[in-house]
Symmetry: C2
Subunit: 432 residues, 2 copies
């Protein structure tokens, strides 16, 4: 099985993330791609101390990578428009497939680049150009292929969403939050691209093209920023049952395609209205499937690298015509990973313990938990549910191995003062 050689141009935020994730998950990626996939040539003006390049060939002239005869795939992560486009066209000319995260290059020069690629029989992929780590290009181009797509709406700029979330949750002013976002590194020193919607317009251009099968037309996107949004409007919107989100929105009508980026009131109960902070989400309405939504980090070094590598593996699978994705995602299965019996899982618990309404019951329960080494996060004694002489004690515990909790429950259940079966429901924080 021939291995696939990747040339990586750019060692900035996304480039270094791509290099490091490829190194770290090398074996898993090879198992999923069905063949080894390696970065063998890096083009960067300078090294990045975050990357240990080892024996990988390094060129200071990125165009050397485009011309390297051993490279199958060139990964363009230098950003910007003109040099990036020149690099990509040079790589295409030399028969390389190309992976890029460059939304403005694709939105502005994509039609020309794709035409050149098709003429050469190579592909240019750009999953990372829209919504960072969310596989939204794949979701629409492949997952929703059956659908006549009606419209889509996206929170596709994390900086703007962070600002609007802070304004909404804390009643802060735009300028105040922008300054904090700049200090946190969420916003650039010149925030125009983010807060005036240009970045979102690049991404919307791409989304609309793949949704409706139309050419990329960045110059036709109506774009309005969020810098004029006031605290008052955020508050009044909330009172009316809405939240203000900076949406990229595109819809097919009988007269043509709407293509617009602007602040938008969205009903608070919609899941999209509850996408907060720097996170991104895209909601797509298809005629067959109805609404589907895709959520995750829209930026960041390794999050964006996740999409870059997904593109690399897609292309690697097609090289030498080994196109099919393995049935369970891996070309060979792991055998040495046992499934744990439920007694061995570790989780937190909610317990409802019905006890006689007498003093000292909470202390009894707390003592047993302590003896079993289980930490209690909260314990609340509720009012009696009716006129009965029993009360519910509600407990939240810290994570503990299930068999230990089983023991504790047995011990508590044996207490004469516990009058009903103890209710136990597991708790998961789902926070990473």
């Amino acid at each position: 099985m021939k291995s696939v050689n990747v040339g990586l141009c750019g060692l900035g935020t996304v480039g270094s993330g791509t290099f490091n994730v490829m190194q770290r998950n090398l074996e898993d990626i090879a198992r999923r791609a069905g063949k080894p996939v390696r970065i063998t040539h890096v083009g960067a003006r300078r090294d990045n101390p975050a990357c240990h390049l080892g024996s990988v060939k390094v060129s200071r002239d990125i165009f050397d990578v485009a011309r390297d005869p051993d490279i199958h795939i060139l990964v363009e992560l230098i950003g910007g428009n003109d040099v990036a486009k020149e690099l990509v066209l040079e790589a295409i000319k030399h028969g390389k497939h190309v992976v890029t995260a460059n939304k403005s290059m694709i939105a502005i020069h994509g039609n020309e680049i794709f035409k050149a690629a098709e003429a050469q029989g190579v592909v240019v992929t750009y999953e990372a150009a829209v919504a960072g780590g969310i596989p939204i290009i794949k979701g629409i181009r492949e997952g929703l292929v059956a659908n006549d797509i009606k419209w889509l709406a996206g929170i596709i700029n994390g900086t703007g969403n962070f600002i609007l979330t802070e304004m909404q949750e804390k009643g802060r002013a735009f300028a105040d939050v922008l300054q904090e976002a700049q200090e946190l590194g969420y916003a650039e020193a010149d925030p125009t691209f983010d807060v005036e919607g240009i970045d979102a317009a690049h991404k919307l251009t791409i989304l609309a093209s793949i949704a409706f099968g139309i050419p990329l037309q960045f110059d036709k996107v109506y774009t309005e920023g969020i810098s004029q949004i006031t605290r008052e409007d955020v508050k009044y919107a909330e009172e009316l049952g809405y939240r203000i989100k900076h949406l990229g929105f595109t819809r097919k009508t009988n007269e043509g395609v709407e293509l617009r980026v602007h602040p938008t009131l969205v009903p608070s109960k919609r899941l999209l209205a509850n996408v907060n902070g720097v996170l991104n989400a895209v909601l797509v309405e298809g005629d067959a499937v109805g609404p589907t939504m895709y959520y995750g980090p829209g930026a960041g070094s390794e999050a964006t690298a996740s999409s870059v590598i997904a593109d690399i593996v897609d292309i690697a699978r097609e090289i030498d015509n080994a196109g099919n994705v393995p049935h369970l995602g891996y070309s060979s299965e792991t055998e040495n990973m046992p499934v744990l019996p439920v007694s061995e899982i570790v989780t937190a618990y909610y317990l409802r313990i019905t006890v006689k309404d007498e003093i000292g019951q909470m202390a009894n329960i707390a003592r047993i938990m302590s003896e079993k080494g289980i930490n209690i996060e909260a314990i609340i004694q509720k009012e009696p549910e009716d006129d009965s002489a029993v009360v519910p004690l509600i407990l939240l515990t810290h994570p503990v191995r299930e068999h230990r909790m089983d023991d504790a429950i047995s011990a508590m259940q044996a207490l004469e003062s516990v009058t009903k079966p103890i209710v136990r429901i597991r708790v998961e924080q789902l926070d990473g």
Copy 2:
């Protein structure tokens, strides 16, 4: 370009949806697949009046479809385990690729089926088997291919989620909501598979295998249903900042894989806790990307068909080695779809109009809107923002074409009593 012939077995809920969506979106699907894709043979014990089969060949013996030499892809939508498995193995034996929506067949017999397929050099795909119309198999197997997946949590049974949502939002009892779900057709007469977690365990089995590269091991899933969940527990959980969801949960630990379906307290602020009604969602934590979530309908005729057809097109693209997805998703671009200028879009509006604090202002505004033919959904006069002599009027309008709204805003702005620029923010309901 050779066309791809599809044999469809089963004309029930998903089968009829698949047939009808394939017919309706025939041209778009061909443009995306790069070749015609047609259902040419249907196997079903009886016709379904919802499907106009026209000249399509029909067999009452589904095994005739598996043996039809003109068929490239067999779509198994008959459900059940034994006959379905026999049909799929027969199709594989005859060199057909297979698409199925059958979660229990894959969860229980998938290892055997995939082995047979690999021996014959064909593929068996099953996007529709998990979370209906959500492209979650593709998302994990391909979109997150770069990641060491840490855990995933899914609301993967719509019936159970509908019941828990009703219990939480309306304080209803389990048995009461179950009965309504049965009347609405969300729950089967025998609801065991749904409410006791067996259906979710089938899907979790599949998700865990593709996330971690382990064999399908349905018999090792710990499964607990929601029939014992009480109103009290739902209420106490809410007071503690949690919601009870019936999750499929799998996590990789140093000791092995946790594989469990049970009611779970999830922090209310998590997006997953806000997935309500019959909708499904899967949250996946990858080491590179962090959290991503995939949301949409987990069942339904055309929603599930959407995933069945996505699988068909994936396979069709690979036949004759035309594997690459077109750059913008379509093999040719639509040219005749103009992008609308923003003056021609139709949307609702939020307006904030600052007027002198005098009587008759609301009537003035309402009159202008009426003259311009704009319907007002709500108009609210707020208190003065400080001691000033002006007050904000907040309006929500019905949808109207933007140039008409531009006219109305000009007219209102010209009023002597309107003291500041009118603030206008567009409103989208995003409800289909």
